[in-house]
Structures are given as structure tokens and as C-alpha cells.
Symmetry: C2
Subunit: 419 residues, 2 copies
């Protein structure tokens, strides 16, 4: 019995889309089927999400980019979030997560599901905690059943993947006690508080089988959250982090046996010289399941430019096995992103993905770099726009001098024409 | 006889500034003197540049960032360039190069020298070629003496460092014939054309001793240009590139013996997996002289986002020995940078420098990351602004919600306060 024997929704999706997926990814069908069976690839798509574009995560499938959007108490404007969703699509995001924590969360989520073909992800513990947090009550009072029920409801609504911090055990949280930045994951911190106040183990861990049953029915992909990811470079690679990763590896194996697709979430803040080792170790400990990372941020003090710090870590991460990049925007650590932040964040992650994949020799990435360089040598501006990661940007910055063959930087000093 | 015995201007500068330099860099005086004597460090400062801030280049001195500005035929606005100079300083650039190719180049250069304490660099062959290029004549007609005279004039004017493409030999240019992007350096292409049309060797190579005599008198630091740097990832590491680098290594040794300070310029477009090797090989071949790189750009198709592609390569470069980062702006490959591009470019390079230096364990970089993380844990926004690479950016993005303790992203879901 492998995953396809147990997960009928996934089997049906592959029957319908395998040929197109193989063509789009430049892979053999067998590579995809083998990858999914081994848990090295996942296919994001809940059949309940109308018009969803089934999206493959897991190298050698193309590295994908996710954009986080969603309301917060201080910036609660669902229309703006809808605009960000459209902007993320235009900028080339492959998936979106709705991290809303304010307003009518069901309505926001359903409207996003209706609006986008991109796989939509959520963090259901946010919704489960909303009532108590908005009432000024301790979210530790929330009921374990309420979390499981929220997961089931969102799966029925069509959510394609969910971050569930199942590996945030009491032991792991205790190990984080001596950190500079402690627990920086919102979900991880919520569950840590719940465990401390209730004196009980993480319900997402103890009731993992319930979560697996829900997931299998809807081909909901679990994104096993890294609640103990380092939030400061100095915290990277400590026992708390690896304790959780090791638990996630066990949970990934259990899910695969139960017919459920799993991704693993990764750091976080990691100094540049440690990124390769972190990625290799995380992949190994989690059975080479698709790795979905936030950053890694290679410096802590780039606030306002965290999309760049994240692109540095992300590019190296991709080269060492990262499969899925969660964008960081210039707003990270400061405020909610605006529309332009969303665009900047998606593009920075796409630069990282392209750089990492070209380094790995992935044919599509190498061909794109080569085509761009040939267009550049020929001063073929249409060709450059076409091969650029952001064609609109090339056209818009060229506009002022579009009648000139050379660009405004060099003019008649153009090296391309000098020899 | 070492460099300090021969270069009186440099010896005087060290007499006046060594104590302050050692303090600012967190180094012993002997580390600086030994570094300069060995050619592993240079002190940028022409005593003829009034109020210049003598600036040390060469790890373990702090990695520095240069901003390129200057007019072009299509965007010839000296007032805008003056504003860019001020913006580069505000953004934290350590040096500026005036790459103007249009207008009254002497006037522009002199006004920049008067306006800034930052070491100012130039590419004198641009000025030497301006007359013929503007007249629509072949720049191959320019006189070799005119180039040497231009260098001497600019040295007298107070220019602190100059890019001279002395290693662009006929052999090296011939080797570049099979490249996708050929020669992409403006200076390199100009000299290549000159050699081809005149059937003679590069005058910057044949008359290198004349250049050394001028340089020694003014403590002009030579930045040995990489005219054959790869302009496409696929061209990186070819025989043309290494032929030039090997010549630069010989020229660096000759300069040091002659009492002249030298930096080496580096690539260019280099795929991510080749950056470390490129940097290590360039440093070795050039006797560990300070390495000054443009990028490296780890993908060719990031037009509009080349500051990010360059920050990825730059961070890895710093970790492997790069000493001086030349910024790339979002305008690279498209047009001349605007004011905001200048800011973005400087900050992207500073993110790269900070990331690379933290990875190397440089005390100032490690301490900054740690201080930022402690401020973040304490929700101490003043502390965060103070330790951020761009304090103004932190303050401006916080402004809207500055009365709230938490940021607008998480609000009451703040992980820092949850546990």
C-alpha cells in the first residue's frame, strides 16, 4: 500500500493532470509518481478548491514561491488583501497563504479560494485562537477540539495546504528557554503557551491521527510548521530546533504511511556559513520531504531589506535542496506588507529560485539565463523583456529611452557594440 | 625597501591617521601596516583631495561599499549626480566612483571631489575617449599619450583611485572571441577596439611604469580593471578571464615593488555554484590584493532586480575573501540609476557585506546581529532602528503604528510576548 492506494483524491488528481504536470515541469511521469510515492514531492490541490491549479513541490520539479498575505488587527482591510492576492499572482507567485488574524476569517478565506487558482495555504490555529485573543482572553483557554474542528472546516472549504505545528512538543519548547529570541513562530508560541498553561502536550501532536484522517479525505497537504525555527542567527542550530525537526521527520513518515502528503517548514534566521548544513540536515532528518523555507535570513539587521537577506539565504538553500520558498517582503519585522512589498517579495524569491536552480544545472533555468544573455548581446530589448523575471519592469524602465538602441547607462560607450 | 619607504604620500597619511584607523576598524596598528606592506590592504586617499576620509580596503578591515554615479549622454544632469552623491553618502556608501561620460567631465569631477569626503574613483579612459565618441569618430583614434595625460591630470585633481584596464592584452581579448557576451566592460571594449584598429598592444599595459610613477606621487590607488570579466554566467571562468587575472597578478606585484597601492577588480556574472571558486582563485592569482567586485551576479535574468542578484553573489564573495563591493542598482542593464536606485543599491550591498562578515565571525558584524535580536525580543523599537542597517527605514515604516508596542504584522499574536 503506498500513498496513491490510500489517498483517492490524490490518485484522481494525478489521473487528470499527470501528463500536463510532466510537460510543464520537464519531467517524466515516472519521476513525479516515484517522487510522490517516496514523499519527496507533493501535489498541492484540494479538489474542493474550484479551479485550483495543481502544483508540484519537490525538486527536480521547479522551485516554487509562496506569498503570505492576510489581515491583522492594525491593518484590517480585506479589499487590500484581495488586491495583494492579485498582485502576488501577477508577480509570479506559485502559491499564497492567507495568514489573516482579524475580521471575518471564513469570509476572507472563502473569497480568496474563489478568486485564485493558486493553491491556498492557512495556519488554522490562528482562526482557532482568534475569538479568545480578540476578547482579550488567554488563548491558552482554547479547546483542543476547536483546533481540530477548524482544520476539518478549512479542509472542507477547499484549503490546499495548512501549516500545523505538530512538532512543537513540551520538550522542544523547554529547550528553547535559553535562546536570545525564544519562540518566534506565532503558531509555535501560541501552542507553547497552551501547553504551559494547561500542563498538557501539544494537541496537534497528540491528535495527529485525527489530522491525518481529515487530510487524506481532501488531499490536504500538511506543512509541518517549524514552531521552533531560530528567530535570531545566534539561535540557529540549537537543540530546540533539531528536537522539533527530528519529531517532524517521524511525523512525515507516519503521514506517508497513512496516505497523506507532507512538506516540512524550515528556518528562519541562519548565518550564511550555516545555511548549507542546515538544509542538508533538515532534508536528511525529514526523509527528503519537500522543504519549505522562510528565508533563511542571513543577517538579523536588514529590517526594511529582509527580502534581500532572505534571497541570499534562499538561493543557497535552493542549491542545497530547498524546494519551496516563502517570500519575505521589505515589511518583514516591521509591519504588514503593502502592494509594492508583495511584488518586491515575490520577485526577490524568484531571483533566489532562478539563481539556485541555474547553479544546479536545471535545464529551464540554464536556458533562461542563456537566452537573456544572447538577447543582451544583440541589444534585443524585446528578447530581454521576455526572458527577464519581470518583463513589465524591463519595459517600464526602458520606456523613457525606448527609441535608442543602447541603454541610457552607456549610450555610445556601449561595450556590446564597441568590439 | 617596502611600499612605505617609496610612497611618501602614503607614509604621511599613515602617520596622521593610523591610530584612528586602527580604532575605527578594531584592528591593531601592526595588522594595518603589515597588510599594506604585503599589498593585502590599501588606504584610499589622495592627499590632493581636500578633507578626504582615508579609507582602508582589505579584510579583516571592514568590507566597504562603493556607489557608481555619473552622467551619460541620455541622462546628462550634473545636479542629479550631485544629489546621488549625497544620497549614496546618506545610505552608507564608503566610496563613490564618478563614471560620467557626458558634459564637462573636469567640472563634474572637481565638484564631486569638493563635495564629498568619501574616496572618489574614476575610469580615466572614459574621459580620454569622450571627444572622439561625442564627435562620432572612432575612439580607436585616441592617442596613447592622451590616456596617460588624463590619468596624470585626474591624479593632480585629487582622484583617490582609478580603474585602469592594464590587463586587457591582445591575447586576452582574442580569447574572448567565442563568448556569448564578449567583452562587457566599457573600458575593456574601448581598449580592445583600440588595439584591433591600431594593431598595437594596450597602452595601459605597455606604459604601466608611467602610470606607476604618477600613482606613487599622489598615493593614487590603482584599481586594476577586469576588462574581460564575464558578462554572462555561461562566459564565467573562461580562458580570457583568467588570462587577464594572471596578468593583473603580475602587475600587482610590480606595483607593490614600485611603491604603489593596487586593488583588483572582479566579476561580473558568475553562477552561484562557481562564486566561491572564482573568488579564491582570483585572490590567489593576484597575491591576495584587495578584491573589488561588481556583483557577482548569480543570474543573468534579474534585470530590474540586479541589486538582489548581486547581493547574493556579494555575500558569498565576502565570505570567501572579497574586500570591496561595488553596488549594483535596480537600474543595472536598463538605464542610469535614479536617486532611489542609488539608495537601494547601497543598502543591498551593505546587506551582503553584513551577511558575509557575520558568517566570517567579524566581531562588529556578529555584535550588530546580536544587538538587533536582543532589541527585537524586547520590542525595543529604538534599539532596532539603531542596529538596523537603515535606521530611517525602520522608523518610517513603523510610523503609522508607532504608538503600538507590537508591529502591525502580528499585533496581539506577537510571538515575542506570547510565551
Amino acid at each position: 500500500m503506498d500513498i496513491l492506494d490510500q489517498n483517492q483524491a490524490l490518485a484522481n488528481l494525478l489521473d487528470a493532470h499527470l501528463t500536463d504536470l510532466a510537460q510543464a515541469e520537464g519531467l517524466d511521469k515516472s519521476q513525479i509518481l516515484d517522487g510522490i510515492r517516496a514523499g519527496r514531492m507533493v501535489l498541492l490541490a484540494n479538489p474542493g478548491h474550484a479551479n485550483v491549479r495543481p502544483t508540484l513541490i519537490g525538486q527536480p520539479a521547479r522551485v516554487k514561491v509562496n506569498a503570505n498575505i492576510g489581515t491583522s488587527k492594525l491593518l484590517n482591510d480585506p479589499a487590500l488583501e484581495a488586491a495583494k492576492l492579485a498582485e502576488a499572482e501577477r508577480a509570479g507567485a506559485d502559491a499564497v497563504m492567507d495568514l489573516s488574524t482579524a475580521g471575518d476569517l471564513d469570509a476572507i478565506r472563502l473569497s480568496m479560494l474563489a478568486a485564485t487558482p493558486l493553491p491556498l495555504g492557512t495556519v488554522p490555529v490562528y482562526a482557532a485562537a482568534q475569538k479568545s485573543i480578540e476578547a482579550g482572553e488567554d488563548p491558552a483557554g482554547m479547546d483542543a477540539d476547536a483546533i481540530i474542528d477548524e482544520i476539518a472546516k478549512q479542509a472542507r472549504q477547499g484549503v490546499d495546504f495548512m501549516t500545523v505545528h505538530c512538532g512543537v512538543t513540551r520538550k522542544a519548547v523547554d529547550l528553547a528557554g535559553s535562546r536570545v529570541c525564544g519562540v518566534v513562530s506565532r503558531g509555535g508560541a501560541l501552542l507553547g503557551r497552551w501547553m504551559r498553561e494547561n500542563g498538557r502536550e501539544n494537541p496537534l501532536y497528540t491528535r495527529y491521527d485525527d489530522i491525518l484522517d481529515i487530510s487524506r479525505e481532501f488531499n490536504l497537504t500538511l506543512s509541518l510548521g517549524d514552531g521552533l525555527r531560530p528567530g535570531a542567527g545566534v539561535d540557529a542550530g540549537d537543540a530546540a530546533q533539531w528536537e522539533e525537526v527530528a519529531v517532524l521527520g517521524e511525523l512525515q513518515a507516519r503521514a506517508l504511511r497513512a496516505g497523506v502528503q507532507v512538506m516540512i517548514e524550515g528556518p528562519g534566521h541562519v548565518p550564511l556559513h550555516l545555511v548549507a548544513g542546515q538544509i542538508q540536515m533538515a532534508k536528511r532528518l525529514t526523509n527528503h520531504a519537500p522543504l519549505y523555507v522562510l528565508g533563511p535570513l542571513v543577517t538579523d539587521c536588514a529590517a526594511g531589506y529582509d527580502h534581500i537577506a532572505g534571497a541570499i539565504g534562499g538561493a543557497i538553500g535552493v542549491m542545497h535542496g530547498v524546494d519551496f520558498l516563502c517570500y519575505l517582503t521589505p515589511a518583514e519585522h516591521l509591519t504588514l506588507p503593502c502592494l509594492d512589498d508583495v511584488r518586491q517579495g515575490v520577485l526577490a524569491s524568484r531571483v533566489a529560485a532562478q539563481s539556485g536552480e541555474a547553479a544546479l544545472g536545471r535545464p529551464h533555468a540554464v536556458a533562461r539565463d542563456l537566452a537573456m544573455s544572447k538577447a543582451r548581446k544583440a541589444l534585443d530589448w524585446d528578447g530581454m523583456a521576455q526572458n527577464a523575471l519581470d518583463p513589465d519592469m524591463v519595459r517600464s524602465r526602458r520606456k523613457e529611452h525606448a527609441h535608442e538602441k543602447e541603454c541610457a547607462m552607456c549610450g555610445k560607450y556601449c561595450a556590446m557594440k564597441m568590439l
